[in-house]
C-alpha cells in the first residue's frame, strides 16, 4: 500500500454476523482522489488475505467470536488485530472484540481479538431501552463544524485507555470523539463530571487501530469511514 500508486485499496468487512452490508454500502460511496476504494465481505482466511484493512462491524460480539472460532478464523483474526502494521476498525461489537480486556461478558467469558489498549464494559449503558442517538462534535473529520449522528445501540463503554498497550513502541493514541457526560448512566455521570474517571471516550485511534462504540454504518455520513482510510490505512497526517 504505497501512498503514490493509484492501486485499488481493498477494505475487508468481517461478514460473520451483524451489520456488514451497511459498512459495505458506505464504502461504495467513498471516492478519494488517486486512491480508489473497493470492499470485500470477509468470511474465510482467503478473503482476509486479499484485504489491506479490516472493519469489524456492529452485531453480537459473542456470535462473531464463536462463529470465528468454529470457522477456524479466530487465531488469524487475533494475529491481524494484534499486528500494529494492520489497519483495523471496530464499531460497537467490533470495539469489544478489538479491546485488550472487557467486563460484563457472558458467563465463562468470551474470546476477544485484542490489539487495542482499551478496557471496555459490554452493554455499558444498559438494555435496548437505554439505546440512544446524540449529535457528536468530531474535530478530526472533514467539515468538522457539521456534527456527526452518533447511534448508540446496547453500546459498550470505554472504561480505561492504556496508551502503551499494543506494544512498547511509541504508538500514538488519539481521542477522536467524546459523548456528553449527560448521556452516561446516572451512576457514572458524577465520576465523569468530577474528572475522576473518564467514561466519555466513544471514538479512539491507536496507531492503525480505530474503535467507535457507536454505529457510523447506520447513518448516511461517510466521514468516519474516510477518517479511518486516511488516518489508519493511508496514514495521512491530521487535516489532510
Amino acid at each position: 500500500m504505497s501512498n503514490d500508486t493509484p492501486e485499488k485499496i481493498i477494505i475487508g468487512v468481517l461478514a460473520l454476523q451483524g451489520a456488514f452490508a451497511e459498512h459495505q454500502a458506505i464504502l461504495s460511496r467513498i471516492s478519494l482522489p488517486s486512491h480508489p476504494i473497493a470492499s470485500l465481505l470477509v468470511r474465510t482466511a482467503e478473503d482476509l488475505a486479499q484485504c489491506a484493512a479490516l472493519i469489524i462491524p456492529g452485531g453480537e460480539s459473542t456470535t462473531i467470536a464463536s462463529v470465528a472460532a468454529r470457522t477456524g478464523m479466530l487465531q488469524l483474526l487475533k494475529d491481524t488485530c494484534r499486528d500494529p502494521s494492520k489497519p483495523v476498525w471496530g464499531t460497537c461489537a467490533g470495539c469489544i472484540l478489538l479491546a485488550k480486556e472487557a467486563t460484563g461478558l457472558k458467563k465463562g467469558g468470551q474470546e476477544l481479538f485484542g490489539g487495542m489498549g482499551v478496557g471496555v464494559r459490554r452493554n455499558g449503558y444498559g438494555t435496548q431501552l437505554e439505546s440512544f442517538e446524540v449529535m457528536l462534535d468530531i474535530p478530526g473529520l472533514r467539515e468538522p463544524e457539521r456534527p456527526f449522528a452518533g447511534v448508540f445501540i446496547r453500546a459498550p463503554i470505554i472504561e480505561h485507555v492504556d496508551p502503551s498497550a499494543p506494544s512498547s513502541s511509541s504508538i500514538e493514541t488519539e481521542i477522536v470523539a467524546r459523548v456528553p457526560p449527560s448521556c452516561l448512566p446516572a451512576e457514572l455521570q458524577q465520576e465523569a463530571e468530577s474528572g475522576t474517571t473518564d467514561y466519555t471516550v466513544v471514538a479512539m485511534r491507536q496507531g492503525k487501530k480505530f474503535v467507535t462504540t457507536f454505529h457510523p454504518e447506520l447513518t448516511k455520513d461517510e466521514r468516519l469511514h474516510e477518517f479511518f482510510i486516511k488516518r489508519c490505512v493511508l496514514e495521512l497526517p491530521a487535516g489532510k
Binding site: Q17, A21, Q24, S39, E60, V67, T127, S131, E133, L218
Partner: protein, 345 residues
C-alpha cells in the same frame, strides 16, 4: 407508557438504496435498508444545543434489528436453554413458557410468559432478550417494557387478544417485530410502528413450506411494485391494503424498509440457508432446536449455516451427524392447533 417517538420516518430512510458494490460475488441480494437515524433529530439537536441523548427513536429501534442480521434468534424456555443458545452463537433469544410445538400439542390459551422467568433469562445471558405478547395486548407489552426487555414479538403464536387491532407500537420505546404473509401485511405492521418484520411461516410444525410461501410472496409483491408507475402504485396500495407512502418507499428501495427475518418451521441448517438465499436477513428458530435430538450441535450448525448460507461445501460439513431433527407436521386442515398464520389483520 412512554411518549410516542416523533422520529419515526421509514419512508425517508434509504441508507442502502443501491446494492453494495463489493468485490465478493457471493452476495446475491441487496443488503437490508432500514431506518436511518433521523435527519430531523440532527437539526433539532443542533438548533437546541442539547447535549443529552434521545432514546426510543426509530433509528435505535431498527438499528438493533440491523445488528441482529446474519444471526439466529432462538426460542428458549428457561435460563439453562438460554445459556446453551448463547454458547452456540445465537444473536438473541426469545423467552417464552412453551415453544410453539408444545403450544400446539397442549392447546389452551397461550399468553405472555411470567416476567419472573423472563428476568431469570435476562440475568443468565448478555445477548438481547426478546419476548412475545398476544396480538393487540398492549398491557402485556407495557409489562415487558417495564422489565427492560430488548425486543417484543407481537406474535400470532400466542392466542390473539384483539381480533381487529394490533398494538400501536409507536407508543413504546422498546422495538417490536411482527409476522407477515405478504407485503400488505408487512407494511401495515410497519405503519403501526414495527421496526423489524419476519415471515409468519407455520410455527411449531418443523415444516418450512409456509415460511417459503410467505417470503416468496413478499419478494414477488416487491418485484411487482418496483416496476410500477405512481398511478399503478395507488391502485396496488389499495389491493394490498397497505399505506401508499410505505409502498412507494418499498418500491424505490426494492426491499422492505426494515430488516426481514425468516420464522415458522425452520428445523435444519439447510432450511436456514434456504431462507437466507431467498433473501431473508436472518432466522428465528423455535421448536426446531430444543425439540431435536442434540440441541447443542443443531444450534451451532444453524448459526454456521446462516453465516455460510451461500457455501454448499460448508453447509454439507455442518449438516453431518446432527442427530434426530424435530418431528415435522404436515400442514393441512387437520393440523393440531390449527393454522397460526391466519391470526393477525
Amino acid at each position: 407508557m412512554s411518549t410516542p417517538s416523533t422520529d419515526f420516518a421509514p419512508a425517508t430512510s434509504s441508507p442502502l438504496a443501491a446494492p453494495a458494490a463489493g468485490t465478493n460475488g457471493s452476495a446475491p441480494l441487496p443488503p437490508s435498508g432500514a431506518g436511518t437515524p433521523s435527519a430531523a433529530l440532527a437539526s433539532a439537536k443542533a438548533a437546541a444545543g442539547s447535549s443529552s441523548g434521545t432514546m426510543g427513536t426509530f433509528g435505535v429501534k431498527s438499528g438493533l434489528a440491523q445488528m441482529l442480521k446474519g444471526g439466529v434468534i432462538m426460542d428458549v424456555v428457561n435460563a439453562e436453554q438460554a445459556r446453551i443458545a448463547e454458547e452456540a452463537g445465537a444473536c438473541a433469544v426469545m423467552a417464552l413458557e412453551r415453544v410453539p410445538a408444545d403450544i400446539r400439542a397442549q392447546g389452551g390459551v397461550a399468553r405472555m410468559s411470567d416476567p419472573q422467568m423472563i428476568k431469570e433469562i435476562q440475568e443468565a445471558v448478555t445477548i438481547p432478550v426478546m419476548a412475545k405478547v398476544r396480538i393487540g395486548h398492549f398491557v402485556e407489552a407495557q409489562i415487558l417494557q417495564a422489565i427492560g426487555i430488548d425486543y417484543i414479538d407481537e406474535s400470532e403464536v400466542l392466542t390473539p387478544a384483539d381480533e381487529q387491532h394490533h398494538i400501536n407500537k409507536h407508543a413504546f420505546k422498546v422495538p417490536f417485530v411482527c409476522g407477515c404473509r405478504n407485503l400488505g401485511e408487512a407494511l401495515r405492521r410497519i405503519s403501526e410502528g414495527a421496526a423489524m418484520i419476519r415471515t409468519k411461516g407455520e410455527a411449531g410444525t418443523g415444516n418450512v413450506v409456509e415460511a417459503v410461501r410467505h417470503m416468496r410472496q413478499v419478494v414477488s409483491d416487491i418485484k411487482r411494485a418496483s416496476v410500477m408507475g405512481e398511478e399503478e402504485l395507488y391502485a396496488f396500495a389499495k389491493e394490498l391494503q397497505a399505506p401508499f407512502h410505505l409502498l412507494k418507499e418499498t418500491a424505490r428501495l426494492k426491499r422492505l424498509p426494515c430488516v426481514n427475518f425468516a420464522a415458522g418451521g425452520i428445523a435444519t441448517p439447510a432450511d436456514a440457508a434456504l431462507m437466507m438465499q431467498l433473501g431473508c436477513d436472518g432466522v428465528f428458530v423455535g421448536s426446531g432446536i430444543f425439540h431435536s435430538g442434540d440441541p447443542v450441535k443443531r444450534a451451532r450448525a444453524i448459526v454456521q449455516a446462516v453465516t455460510h448460507y451461500n457455501n454448499p461445501k460448508i453447509l454439507a460439513e455442518i449438516s453431518m451427524d446432527l442427530g434426530e431433527p424435530m418431528v415435522g407436521l404436515t400442514i393441512d386442515k387437520d393440523l393440531k392447533g390449527g393454522m397460526y398464520a391466519g391470526r393477525g389483520w
